[in-house]
């Protein structure tokens, strides 16, 4: 059991919690995306920590980090695409009143 691993994992846990709070509590689409970015950042840290402390000789872990970075970029691109479309249509990206998804 390494104190370094524990520290990294606890940091990741904190980032995850803060990100989750942000994604749930914010009314603005862009702010929600920020929360998601933080959650993904926590995931990244976990991956790097596990690679560093448990399997430093195996590279799929590092590759996985690259994939998560890709996911972050994709999330940004699509999120902003939606934000622009929504802003064009409604003049706001406040999600408080967004009811289009109502079933």
């Amino acid at each position: 059991m390494s104190i370094g691993l524990l520290l990294a994992l606890l940091t990741a846990a904190a980032l995850f919690g803060i990100g989750l709070y942000g994604a749930l509590s914010q009314t603005n689409l862009v702010m929600i995306m920020m929360g998601v970015e933080l959650i993904l950042g926590g995931a990244l840290l976990n991956l790097v920590a596990f690679w560093r402390f448990l399997h430093p000789g195996s590279y799929p872990g590092q590759m996985f980090v690259l994939i998560v970075m890709t996911v972050m970029a994709v999330e940004m691109a699509v999120g902003f695409g939606v934000a622009i479309a929504r802003f064009r249509a409604r003049g706001s990206v406040e999600m408080e009143a967004a009811r289009e998804l109502q079933g």
Partner: protein, 612 residues
Amino acid sequence: MTGLLALAPLAPLAAAALILLGRRAAAPLALLGAGASLYGGARLLSSVAAGATASLALPGLPGLPLALTATPLTALLSVLVATIALFVLTYATGYMTEDPERKRFFATMLLFVAAMQTLVLAGDWILLLAAWEVIGLASYLLIGFWHDRPGVPAAATRAFLTTRAADLGLYAAAFLLIGATGTNAITQATHPSGPAALAAGLLLLLAAMGKSAQTPLHGWLQDAMAGPTPVSALLHSATLVAAGAILLIRTAPLLPPAALLAAGLVGGTTTVITGLIAFAERDLKRLLAASTSSQYGLMLLAVGAGYPLAALLLLIAHAAIKSSLFLASGVFQHSRDSTRLDDLRGIAAERPLAYAGFTLAALALAGIPPLSGFLAKDAVIAATLASPRTAAFATLALAGTLLTGAYMGRALHALWHGQPHPRPLAGIGWMIAGLTGLVALAATLALAFPGIRTLLGQPLPETVAAKAAGLSAALTGLALGWLLRPERALGPLLPWAQRGFRIGGGLSALTVKSALTLARACDRTETLLYGGVLAAGRAGMAVARAAQASDDLGLDALIAALARGANRLGARLRTLQSGLIHRELALATAGAALLVASLAIALLAAPAIPPR
């Protein structure tokens, strides 16, 4: 060897890319691509026949390499696909002469061929799945080729959705097999046993049912006639629809007895029901489509009987026969701008060559010696006779053969009688060239059968009883089809026929109603004119009515009930779906938490992972 393996699928793909990049010369490039593919397949077959085996491993997912393999079966199928593709593309050179979108057509056709070659040669489940998906996509693009015509996009979408829904079976089966055996190779050495094998077998059957248009998923195939004729020819004989049967033929050794029984029953039911639909059909191409379902039903029956070789023989014979039928019907369609039997009356005198080809192919399909269809049908019937469930399987097979003769006889009759009104046709030379090649193939393919049997080295029963029963069923069917005059029986249907010129959206209503009315009218004529023969006919009509009724009442009612139930459930769930992002996010979080919790419980309950 490995180069040849790569050549078969890559040549059409490269040709497709060149067609898209280049400006002209689409058709020669397409022929070149298909020819190169055929060359690869043929060389492969010859070296495999000499005893060599080849396998081309590609880097795939970690631990799950992708592979193309050449075994006698796969090489043979590859040759089949390439041959049919070459002839159909030759024909299409003429057929598409005046279409401004030729380039797109040929490129998509070649993509289709490339995907089919990959599917046929695939040595592992993942590549097979990928090829399966590309085939679905290509067929969607081709069926919807004339997407600006009314009804075409809907038909393409329906075909795509039906096959996609059934594809889920293949996904589940592939993952189940990979999970159970730990390898993604399609080999018999590592096949699982027990419930996993049964589940995988049934899921494979589901996938094959979707692609091969087996009852109750047969509806989309008739709609798929919205595409250009060469597409139908390729689709029905060697690619999309064949993919289902090929899947089952390739995996037949993996299937447990219960799954085989299910396959046989599904196939037998299909062959009878779609045979009846074909008999009642008034559109030549839709008749051929229903006949395709019926023939693939026979193949599934043979697989179910435990003799995939018989199914393979029928598949090969059917590929040549059905593509020539479609090509001939395409010639008719160009001559009269219609495929309805009423419009095509008397075309025999107008296009004698095409009609001769059509007749030869029809006789072959019905199973008249010495054409290829006879030997194949005979093999299927013999297989059913030799199977442990002779009573059910043989009856269904004979009924299917009888119906094949009946609808082919009817089509021949309809095309023979009537007034010719000839007119010149552009590109007829290319069309006849493709057609002639295929008909010659259909007629003489039987010569290759003994070679195939020794090549594959699988058992095939042979009995005189099967030959006799098959031949008599076929002859009876043909006679029935020729003699039962639909136009005399059509009296009450005349208004329908007139309205039918604008079929519009009511395709299925038209099919169902016309089949019912036709069946009733036939019944009446029968009782009046041919008392003796017709006990069988009446029984057939009864089955037809039962089928329609089950379709109308049973299935429709079931679906309606399902829809109602889903609606009601949906209404309740609506309250959960507030549409507010934050509520939905919160729900998603709760769901994720639930998932993680259940995973954690499973992990804690499972024995601890030993430390490394």
